[in-house]
């Protein structure tokens, strides 16, 4: 009787987990995908930081890192079905293009307010990409990085 109850509880937990993250269960490398998404947010935050600090000369370097983070995500989903990869690629390209625009603007007309506005558009493009992934894989932008300065 007791073992039946335990089995039922375990099945319920298992079902709840499956319902909570159907996509994560389907992804072949959810950990790598999560890291790829986290890297994109990490570099995006560095863009913002460089704009705020008016370190405009650093922004093209951040763009290069963004393209590298994009490659990390591509690598993480390389074994996924073609239609999913195609959807991701479309939105990923849009996000990369949006960050490239920020980078190009920083070289041509470095204006912190305009760059910040453009960065906001790039974040929107990135969030559209994130919508393709289950919520439990998406990084929380409010979570401080491990070892980050505590203010």
């Amino acid at each position: 009787m007791k073992s039946a109850r335990i089995a039922t509880a375990l099945m319920t937990i298992g079902l709840a987990l499956l319902v909570a993250s159907p996509m994560a269960a389907q992804l072949k490398s959810p950990g790598d995908a999560k890291t790829g998404l986290k890297l994109l947010v990490q570099v995006s935050n560095d863009f913002k930081r460089q704009i705020t600090a008016k370190n405009f000369a650093r922004i093209p370097h951040e763009y290069m890192e963004y393209t590298e983070a994009a490659d990390a995500l591509r690598s993480a989903i390389k074994d996924e079905p073609a239609d999913f990869k195609a959807k991701v690629e479309t939105r990923l390209k849009a996000a990369v293009a949006a960050y490239q625009k920020v980078s190009d603007m920083s070289a041509k007309s470095p204006d912190a307010d305009k760059l910040m506005a453009e960065h906001g558009k790039a974040v929107t493009a990135m969030n559209a990409l994130f919508d393709l992934f289950p919520a439990d894989l998406r990084p929380d932008p409010n979570t401080p990085r491990k070892g980050a300065a505590k203010n």
Partner: protein
């Protein structure tokens, strides 16, 4: 006779003890801007051989490991942020530092562990995000 005296005096001296050698290892958290661990420990006076490995595979951000004093952390961080993040040689606020390291690379530094206490370490190119504490024990 003087030679005998020298021998006797020499016998009375205690040989200077060799410092204890401690090997520490730390790596980046893959490509993420974080150290894999944020605490390290060693005894005071030890000769510390610290190895830092950049475990990234994709992102070309360079990292290093810099040890400083607790009251210098924020000022040093700000200076790193306002500059290229390359520590100046001979900066007295820096106890030890590895060279900057590209993804996949490994670098080392050696130093004598300072007085007991907690000393902050950081990456000079990501001084607000990559931080930790070296616990120096008695």
């Amino acid at each position: 006779m003087p030679a005998l005296l020298l021998v006797l005096v020499g016998c009375g001296r205690r040989p200077k003890p060799e410092p204890k050698v401690v090997d520490l290892y730390i790596q980046s958290d893959g490509d993420l801007i974080a150290f894999g661990t944020d605490t390290l420990t060693c005894p005071t006076g030890a000769l510390v051989r610290l190895t830092f490995h950049h475990a990234g595979r994709f992102v070309s951000a360079r990292h290093n490991w810099v040890l400083t004093y607790p009251d210098q952390l924020e000022k040093l961080s700000k200076e790193f942020l306002d500059s290229d993040g390359i520590p100046a040689k001979g900066d007295p606020r820096i106890i030890a530092a590895t060279p900057l390291c590209d993804k996949g690379g490994t670098v080392m530094t050696e130093f004598t562990a300072p007085a007991p206490g907690d000393y902050p370490f950081l990456c000079s190119t990501h001084p607000e995000d990559m931080r930790g504490i070296l616990h120096v024990t008695k």
